[in-house]
Amino acid sequence: MFDRRLVQNFDWILLLLLLLLAGISILNLYSATYAIRDVGGSQVFVKQIYWFLIGFAVFFVMTTFNYFALERLAYPAYIFTIALLILVLFVGKVTSGSQRWLSLGPVSFQPSELAKIAMVIVLARFFSEKRGYRGYRLRDLWQPFILIAAPSVLILREPDLGTALLLVAGSFSMILFVKMYWKSLVILVGSAVSVAPFIWFSLKEYQRMRILTFIRPDMDPFGAGYHINQSKIAIGSGLLWGKGYLRGTQTRLHFLPEQHTDFALSVLAEEWGFVGSAFLLLLYLFLILWGLNIAKASKDKFGSIMAVGIVAFIFWQIVINVGMVTGLLPVVGIPLLLFSYGGSSLISTMAAMGLLMNISMRRFMFQ
C-alpha cells in the first residue's frame, strides 16, 4: 500500500517554511510576554510550543490519507460543521461578549476554524465538476452562495465579524479563481454595494465604531482608535533595524493591546524594524507562492482548486491582520496565521497546511 513516491515527493520546502515560521513565532511570543512572565506570561510561549507540536502532528496526520477521499466526504463534513456552528450558539462558552468556543471535556475549540477548512473542501468539490470554459453565471452559483452564506451568518451570530468576513473573502476568491461571467460579476458587486447599508445597521456598536475610527482614527485617539495608534507607534518606532530583541518599549510596557495575539506582528516590527517585518512578509509571500505552485503542479481539478482555496484563506488572513496592525484596515480581530498565540487557529492552519502537503505529495498520481 505504501508508495515510495510519497517520500520522494515529500515537500521539504513547505515543511521548512512552516518550521521557520514556527520558530520566529515562538521567539516573538517569548518577547511579547516577557514583561508579564511572572504573572503567567511565560506559560504563553511554552503553551505555544506545545500547540506547534500538536499542530505538526495534525499536519502529518493530514498527509497520511489520500485527499481524493475528501471529495466524497465534502458534504457530510460541511453539514457536520454547520451542526457544530449551530450548537455553539446554544452551548458555547461566552468569553468577552461572544460565544465562539465549544468545550469537549478539557479541550475547547472554535467550530468557526473548522468551517474554513470545510468551506474550502466543499467549494473545491463543487467547482471540480465539469463546467463550461467561460466560467460561471449567477444562476450556476446559487448553491455555492448558500454554502457560503450559511456558515457566515452563523459565525456572524456568535458574533465573530472577523472570521465571517474571512470566510466570505476566501470563498469569493475561489469563485473568482474558477471564473465568473463578467456580467454576473458586475451584478454581484452592484448588489453587494446596495446591501452594504443594511449590513452597516446590523453591525454591533463597537464594530461600527471600529470601522469609523479606522476611517478617522484621529476622531478618538484614546478610545477605539487607541489600538491602531499604539500599534502604529510600536511598528513605526522600530525604524529600519528595530529596537532589538526583548527591547521593545511599547511591548514591555503593555501599551500594545493583545500583543501576543492579534498584535503580535507589532511586537516583531518594533523589535526587528523594517528589516524584520519585510523578512517575515517575504516568508509569507513565499508560502503563498509555493501554495500556488502546488496548485499548479496538481494534476486534478479538485486538488488544484483545494490548494488555491487554502492559499486564498491564508492570503486573506495575512492581509487582514497585517492591514489591521499597520492601520490600513479596520481592527477586526483576526490573529496572524502561524504567528499569533492561539491554539485553535494554529491547529486549523496546520491541518490546512497538511492538506496542502497532501496535495503536493500526490501530484504524481496521474502520471
Binding site: 478610545g223 487607541y226 507607534i233 511598528i235 525604524l239 499548479k296 481539478k301 479538485f302
Partner: protein, 618 residues
C-alpha cells in the same frame, strides 16, 4: 479515472488564472511592504518620539497640606489617609456586573459611577478612574476580601483634608474645593493643576500658598494600564507650612455652643492687639463635606436651607448697630463740645421733629437724663437731641474714625464694609437730599447705618484700649513650628480715633454702668469676679410703630423680631477680651446677647470652669 481530472483546455485556463493570482498577491504584498517602509523608515522618527513619551509619564506627588492649630497648639485641621476606589474599565470584563457588585460592597451609586466612567473612559483609556473616595472601614474590608472577584478594581491611598471637629470654626477655617477655570487662568495658583483642591474660603484660602506646599513629581516608566514599572527621576514634594491661629479652641467652643440653634455671630478679640480669640457664625457647616467634592444632597441641604450657613455672619453679616452706636454719638458730642455731661434733658418717651414724633424704646420715658444715665439706660430721646445738634456729617466723621463703614482688612474678599451714611452718600445713592429725621434714626443706630460684628469688636476694643483701632487678625504664625516660622503675627494699627482720654474715660465709666448699675440694660453680663463693661443694642427689623401693632413681644413673628446686639469688654480697668455678639431676631440685646458675653468672659478669664467643660465636651 476520476471525474475531476484536468482536460487540456481547463489546464490552460487554470494556468492563466494562477498567473493572474500570482500578480495580485505580489501587488498586495508590495503594498504591505511599502506600508511598513512608510511607517518605519519614512515616518519612523515621529513614531519613535511618540513611543518615548508613551512610556515615560510624569506623575505628580501631592505634598501634605499644612496643619491648622489653635493658639495653644491644639490641632484643628490635619490630613488623614483616604482609601479611594478606582476602576480600570479596560480590564473589566462585565462592567455592569462589577458595578452591581461594587454597589453591594461599597455602597457605590451605580448611576453616578456609570456617568463618571462615561466621562473619563474616552479621555483616559487604561487609566484608573476614581469612582468613590474615602471608603469606610467596612466598605474597604468588603472590597479587599472580594478583590479576587473584582478584576480592574484598584484601591489607592491618598491624604485627605480632615477637619477634626467638624463644624468647629468652619467659617474661619474655610474649606477646600476643586480649583476652577477662572482661578487657574488668574495666574495666582501657579503650582496648581486642574483637579487640585485649593482653599476656597477662610484660613484655607488666605494661606493657600503656604499651606499647600510644593508639588513633587516623579518621572516614571509606566505601562498602558498606568502601573509603575520604575521611577526614573524624582522630586520630593515639600509639605505645606502649618498655620497657628490666634483662636482659643475652648473659647471658640463656648461661642459656638452659645449660638447653637440660633442665627448670629460672635467675635472675641484681644483689644490690645487685634488677635481674634473666637469667631463664630451660626448656622455653620461641616467643611469635611467639601473635601473631594461635595455630593448633591449635602450641597442642596446647605444652599437651600434658607438661612445661609455658608455665609460668615461675623464678616459679612451687616446689621444696624442699634444703641451700640450711641457710643459713637456720645464720644463725638463730647469731643465736639456740644454735649455737657452735666446737662439734663427730659425724656417723655417721644421726641417731636416738626409734626412727626420719634419714640423712645421706653414707652413712658426716662424722665430727666444726663449723658451717663442716657448711655446706661440707653435713652433714645437723649440721643435724638444730641444727634440733631451734631448733624449727620459729624456723626459719620467720628464713626469712620473707628473704622466703621469700611473693611477692617481681616478678609479682603468675603468681608463687607457696612455703611455709614452721609449727606453726599444719600444724594448719590438715592438722588434725594438728606432728611432731618434720618439724622435722628442714625443717632440711635437705625435707618441706613450698617455694621458687621467684626467691625464692632474692633470698635469696642478701640474705646477701651485708649483709642487704637487694630486690624483683627487670626494668624499667630506660619511655619513648621513656633521656632521655625516664616511669618509671625504683628499687630496692625489701622487708625487712631483721636479722642481725649477724659472723654473716653467718661464713656467707659458709663459702659461699666450699663452692666453694673441697677437700671443698666446689660445687667445680665454682670459678674462679681471682674468688672464687665458693655453696651446693648437692638437693631430694628421693622419700625417701632409697626411693632406696637402686636399685643406683646411674643406675638411678633420671628422674622420680624429685632436683632440683639451686645458688645463688651473685661476686665474694664485692664481689658483682656472684647466681644461683639449679634443674635438675629433675638429681641433685646440685654436679654438675648448679654448673657452670652458673660459666658465668654468667664470662660476666657478662667472664672467658670463649668461653662468651659460643658462646651468642650459637646
Amino acid at each position: 479515472m476520476r471525474t475531476s481530472e484536468f482536460d487540456p483546455l481547463s489546464l490552460e485556463i487554470f494556468d492563466r488564472q494562477l498567473k493572474k493570482v500570482t500578480l495580485v498577491v505580489l501587488a498586495v504584498f508590495g503594498v504591505l511592504v511599502l506600508r511598513f517602509w512608510f511607517l518605519q523608515v519614512v515616518n519612523g522618527s515621529v513614531y519613535r518620539t511618540k513611543s518615548e513619551s508613551n512610556r515615560i509619564h510624569l506623575q505628580d506627588i501631592s505634598p501634605f497640606r499644612g496643619m491648622i492649630l489653635d493658639r495653644n497648639g491644639a490641632t484643628l485641621v490635619d490630613n488623614r489617609p483616604s482609601y479611594d476606589l478606582y476602576v480600570v474599565p479596560e480590564e473589566v470584563q462585565d462592567l455592569e456586573e462589577l458595578l452591581e457588585r461594587l454597589s453591594r460592597l461599597a455602597g457605590l451609586g451605580a448611576e453616578e459611577a456609570e456617568r463618571k466612567l462615561d466621562e473619563a473612559s474616552l479621555r483616559y483609556p487604561f487609566r484608573p478612574i476614581c469612582l468613590k473616595r474615602d471608603l469606610s472601614r467596612d466598605e474597604l474590608a468588603k472590597v479587599e476580601t472580594h478583590r479576587f472577584n473584582l478584576p480592574g478594581v484598584i484601591i489607592k491611598v491618598a491624604p485627605q483634608r480632615h477637619y477634626i471637629n467638624g463644624t468647629f470654626a468652619s467659617h474661619l477655617i474655610g474649606y477646600l474645593g476643586e480649583i476652577n477655570e477662572n482661578q487657574l487662568n488668574s495666574g495666582k495658583y501657579t503650582d496648581s493643576k486642574p483637579g487640585d483642591l485649593i482653599g476656597k474660603s477662610g484660613v484655607e484660602w488666605k494661606w493657600q500658598r503656604d499651606l499647600n506646599g510644593v508639588r513633587g513629581g516623579a518621572q516614571v516608566e509606566v505601562d498602558a494600564t498606568g502601573r509603575k514599572i520604575r521611577v526614573m527621576a524624582r522630586k520630593t514634594p515639600v509639605p505645606g507650612e502649618n498655620v497657628c491661629l490666634t483662636i482659643d479652641k475652648d473659647l471658640q467652643a463656648v461661642a459656638e455652643k452659645a449660638l447653637a440653634g440660633k442665627s448670629g455671630a460672635i467675635v472675641a478679640m484681644d483689644p490690645n492687639n487685634g488677635e481674634i480669640l473666637a469667631l463664630a457664625s451660626s448656622p455653620s457647616f461641616d467643611p469635611n463635606l467639601f473635601v473631594g467634592g461635595i455630593d448633591r444632597a449635602s450641597w442642596e441641604g446647605i444652599v437651600l436651607s434658607g438661612d445661609f450657613p455658608l455665609q460668615d455672619r461675623a464678616l459679612s453679616g451687616q446689621y444696624p448697630p442699634g444703641s451700640v452706636f450711641k457710643i459713637v454719638v456720645a464720644l463725638a458730642g463730647l469731643e465736639e463740645g456740644i454735649i455737657d455731661p452735666e446737662e439734663e434733658l427730659v425724656c417723655t418717651g417721644i421726641y417731636y421733629l416738626g409734626r412727626r414724633g420719634y419714640r423712645c424704646w421706653k414707652k413712658y420715658g426716662h424722665g430727666t437724663v444726663s449723658l451717663h444715665r442716657a448711655l446706661v439706660e440707653s435713652c433714645d430721646v437723649y440721643f435724638y437731641n444730641m444727634g440733631r445738634r451734631l448733624g449727620i456729617d459729624k456723626i459719620a466723621e467720628y464713626a469712620m474714625r473707628f473704622g466703621l463703614g469700611k473693611r477692617t482688612g481681616f478678609d479682603p474678599v468675603h468681608e463687607k464694609a457696612g455703611l455709614i451714611p452721609t449727606r453726599d452718600w444719600k444724594l448719590k445713592r438715592w438722588g434725594v437730599p438728606w432728611q432731618g429725621g434720618e439724622t435722628l434714626s442714625t443717632a440711635i443706630g437705625q435707618s441706613f447705618v450698617l455694621v458687621t460684628p467684626i467691625q464692632m469688636a474692633a470698635f469696642v476694643s478701640a474705646v477701651f484700649n485708649g483709642g487704637i483701632v487694630y486690624r483683627p487678625q487670626v494668624t499667630r504664625w506660619v511655619g513648621k513650628s513656633e521656632t521655625e516660622k516664616i511669618h509671625e503675627f504683628a499687630p496692625v494699627v489701622t487708625g487712631k480715633i483721636g479722642i481725649k482720654q477724659e472723654h473716653l474715660e467718661f464713656v467707659k465709666n458709663a459702659l461699666i454702668g450699663v452692666v453694673n448699675e441697677p437700671h443698666g440694660t446689660g445687667g445680665r453680663a454682670r459678674m462679681k469676679e471682674v468688672t464687665v463693661a458693655g453696651k446693648t443694642g437692638t437693631s430694628q427689623v421693622i419700625s417701632l410703630k409697626k411693632e406696637e401693632e402686636f399685643e406683646s413681644e411674643k406675638d411678633i413673628p420671628v422674622r420680624f423680631r429685632d436683632h440683639a446686639w451686645f458688645v463688651a469688654v473685661a476686665p474694664a480697668e485692664n481689658p483682656r477680651i472684647a466681644v461683639a455678639i449679634v443674635v438675629e431676631h433675638g429681641g433685646h440685646g440685654g436679654s438675648a446677647a448679654a448673657p452670652i458675653a458673660g459666658q465668654l468672659i468667664k470662660a476666657y478669664l478662667g472664672l467658670d470652669r463649668s461653662v468651659l467643660a460643658e462646651a468642650v465636651t459637646d
